[in-house]
């Protein structure tokens, strides 16, 4: 089974023993509650699925594992600059065709009453600006694209 995590991709072969699963010396007992056993000590864990992502609470950590369909390939960031959260564009600080340096502010957004700057991740030329000041944007929307 393959998952996408914040650290990259992770693959796992499950070993099953009744309703228990074993991996790297750890045993997970499944049922209506989940119990994780490490070195003979047990820990209550919680997991739930939201969309294609399993959210796991284990030993005070909250981790996310997105299921990767077998054979599917998803392109990672392609140089586009995306809205980090839903909100409103307050100000566009650059024009199309303008060359910018890594770290330059490109746009100012507002969300939850706070302002956030969209910063160039690399040197490049502003190719397209997709939104104007006053526009509402959803999370993940591509705000503008830079060419190298």
């Amino acid at each position: 089974m393959e998952f996408k995590t914040s650290e990259g991709r992770a693959e796992i072969q499950l070993t099953k023993d009744g309703s228990s699963f074993i991996h790297e010396g750890m045993i997970l007992h499944t049922g209506s509650d989940l119990l994780l056993e490490i070195d003979g000590r047990k820990h209550k864990v919680t997991a739930t699925k939201v969309g294609d992502t399993w959210w796991v609470h284990v030993l005070g950590h909250t981790l996310q594992f997105e299921i990767v369909e077998p054979g599917a390939t998803k392109a990672d960031d392609d140089g586009g600059l995306c809205a980090p959260m839903p909100g409103k564009v307050l100000e566009v600080l650059v024009t199309e065709g303008q060359s910018v340096n890594k770290g330059d502010p490109l746009m100012v957004m507002e969300a939850m009453k706070m302002e956030h700057k969209i910063i160039a991740g690399s040197d490049g030329i502003v190719e397209t600006i997709h939104y104007r000041a006053g526009d509402q944007v959803s999370q993940g929307a591509e705000l503008l694209s830079l060419s190298e």
Partner: protein
Amino acid sequence: MLKRTLVANRGEIACRIIRACKEAGIESVAVHAENDAGTIFTEIADISVQLNGEGLAETYLNQQQILDVAIDQGCDSVHPGFGFLSERADFAQAVMDAGLIWIGPSPEAITKMGDKMTARITMKEAGVPVIPGEEINGGIEEVIEVAPSVGYPLLLKATAGGGGKGMRAVHHPDNLESEAKAAMREALNAFGDDRIYIERLLTGSRHIEIQVLADNFGRTIHLGERECSVQRRHQKVFEESPSVALDSELREAMGSAACNAARAVDYVGAGTVEFLVTPTGEFFFLEMNTRIQVEHPVTEMVTGVDLVREQLRIAGGEPMSCRELFMRGHAIEVRLYAEDPANNFLPSIGPLKRFIAPTGPGVRLDTGVREGDSVTPDYDPMLAKLIVWAPSRKEALQRMGRALDEFVILGCVTNIRFLRELCDHPDVVDGWTTTDMIDRLWPDGWNPEITQSISDAGLLIAAACESTNHGKRILLSQEISKAPSIFSTIQRRFP
């Protein structure tokens, strides 16, 4: 004695006030926007009224509509909570003009303290020390002109504001213009007033505030301090009482300065006087918050005073019930936010698919959400306040660590793990908490420390749950075993 109170707020503070009303035998009326229908505070209030309109301006900030509801529902008083209309002198006046009791200080006190410039002048006159700074009335040009005389690093603040909005730190003159523009714009959006104030940023200082309480019988007392130094983006995330930086002598000096500040504006009710305390033990007046504060529970835990109940008592014309100040043990509050501390603390949204709060001795949770609710970008991203009390600071940190480990929130990214690591950080354990500490400890941003064994365990759990359809299967078997209800038969539609 009050009979029926309208609570002009939402979320956890509305719940806090409604519960205090219930305990005091006062009926409560909640007002809510359409998108808050069905949340906890609308459910626990005796009466809930939906406000017309969308967005904050048409709902929670709509003075006339809220006042109309108060009159329609036969309320005798209005509690504003914090934020929203709590520091609007015009609203306080309108409430009083309508013949109702405003649960808070007089409009005059709000005005004097709400305007940071007037507050400074009033405090100087009352002999309370203030930070060097200048007010700006002439727009961006004046900011540039005045900045050199204040000196760098400096802080831009909204004259009308609070809560970190419109507040910007400037470390170098090159950034002054853009930061000042941003601060003025934020101030205009948040408070309808773009005046800003420049003051010297005192690095390495602590933010320590004194809780005051005053009644109509001539009594003004302080209830000790809250140390709120740990902040991100000028918003507090970790608050405690008592502060390790105060001995009884400094506490008395600051406490009496705070009481002088309150008396200078004939303050009535609960209020907070904020100070910056330098590493050498000098203290400067920052501002006075003329309302109940987010972090009021830590004071309640160590002093045994129910602050909201005292507010209701004082507003109802009774004397406060507090005896002499007696601080016992140690209390810590952390603010749980829907935000991603690994991504510059940006707000996050999502469903609260699981929300399992910690319990046990000395653990208190103030929240307005529960499992099944969703976090939307419509409101402040604070999900809950987790407060612990223990006999000593060390034990309070251990208890907070345990409670945070138990806290499960799945479906929305939160700062729980960040707060958990904070409790274990040597600087926090040693009490070396300063307002710049998050930048000092994590200059390149924070990332969780996840061991190989934790990520292996997570992977095992995710894979096992996926292969067993965890969660779904239980629901299915419940549905099958459920006897068919006659109501579901009646509701069934036929073509």
